[in-house]
């Protein structure tokens, strides 16, 4: 049940807030942990979903929102705010399952509670040769009406072949 994940995530964030003195460090830890999860999650995703290679960033966006998010978190964010060059878009989450029953205390205003997600997306996409930048630009936990994640394509990662190979 996804409650297990949500509750566990909450316990993790709480623990990290105890272990690290400032929100920035917690945010970094969440991102790092998310990255480590993402690089493994992608295998699980590819095995379950059977999606082929994406031809462009728009396809990638669709796969992320309509298949991946649905599969793992049970929600389908909408895709909006494409940049003119097609290298940036936003995912809008009407509700973020990670934050059910969560309230941010006043002394943690810089905490990006769901920052794990940014790391997961970044790590997963790196494994399919895409370097991306992911960040939260709106957060219902901070009083915004929706949660918005901005994803930007940086560059294609070339396969690193061992020396001496073609």
């Amino acid at each position: 049940s996804s409650e297990l994940f949500t509750l566990t995530y909450g316990a993790l964030v709480t623990q990290l807030c105890k272990d690290y003195e400032n929100d920035e460090d917690v945010n970094k830890q969440l991102d790092k942990m998310g990255y480590n999860i993402g690089v493994r999650l992608i295998e699980d995703f590819l095995a379950r979903s059977n999606v082929g290679r994406c031809h462009d960033f728009r396809e990638t966006a669709d796969v992320i929102a309509k298949i991946a998010f649905k599969m793992y978190l049970g929600i389908t964010p909408s895709i909006t705010n494409w940049s003119p060059g097609g290298d940036e878009f936003s995912l809008i989450l009407e509700n973020n399952p990670l934050v059910d029953f969560v309230e941010l205390p006043d002394n943690h205003s810089s905490l990006i509670y769901s920052n794990l997600l940014c790391g997961v997306l970044r790590g997963a996409l790196e494994m399919v040769q895409m370097a991306v930048d992911v960040k939260f630009v709106q957060d219902t936990l901070k009083g915004d009406s929706v949660t918005e994640i901005r994803m930007k394509f940086i560059r294609r990662i070339e396969d690193n072949l061992p020396a001496g190979e073609e």
Partner: protein, 158 residues
């Protein structure tokens, strides 16, 4: 199940992350298991709250332990506890022959010394669940051969 995969990855990364931090001096090693157990405790409490909203009251302690072995374990780990033993004096041993958090690690004795790290959270989970059902306990775990493990619950009479 997809969301199970997500939980497994999160759990394993939590274990890895805590131990990584301990290595870099951000906390002592011994405290990692305590932290994992406390996190499990909070989650166990939360889970039980959601479950038992609609369930009838339990008859007795054994009834509660059976609930943990069946419904609770199934919801969390998609299977039941394989074997429950008790001395009828407050000690219960829950045996899971294919513990989900260990199946990826190894079969047999390889990495045995790392197994306890992967059990701490679940010990807390059981302790937290029982706590919200009005039972105070101490929960420990042991592994002799992966992926089988035993959780020992010692009920504390208040």
């Amino acid at each position: 199940m997809a969301d199970e995969a997500l939980f497994l990855l999160l759990h394993n990364e939590m274990v890895a992350g805590l131990y990584r931090a301990a290595e870099h001096g951000e906390g002592e090693n011994g405290r990692c298991t305590t932290k994992l157990e406390s996190m499990g405790f909070r989650v166990g409490q939360g889970l039980i709250e959601r479950f038992t909203k609609d369930t009838a009251r339990f008859k007795d302690e054994l009834d509660i332990m059976k609930f943990i072995c069946k419904d609770f374990w199934t919801t969390v780990f998609r299977k039941q506890i394989d074997n429950l033993r008790t001395n009828h004096q407050g000690i219960y041993v829950l045996q899971d022959n294919k513990f989900r958090l260990l199946t990826q690690m190894s079969a047999g004795k390889q990495y045995l010394e790392h197994a306890p790290k992967y059990l701490a959270f679940t010990c807390g989970l059981i302790r937290g669940g029982l706590s919200n059902l009005g039972i105070k306990s101490i929960v420990t775990a042991e592994v002799s051969s992966m992926p089988a493990c035993k959780f020992q619950v010692m009920i504390q009479k208040i």
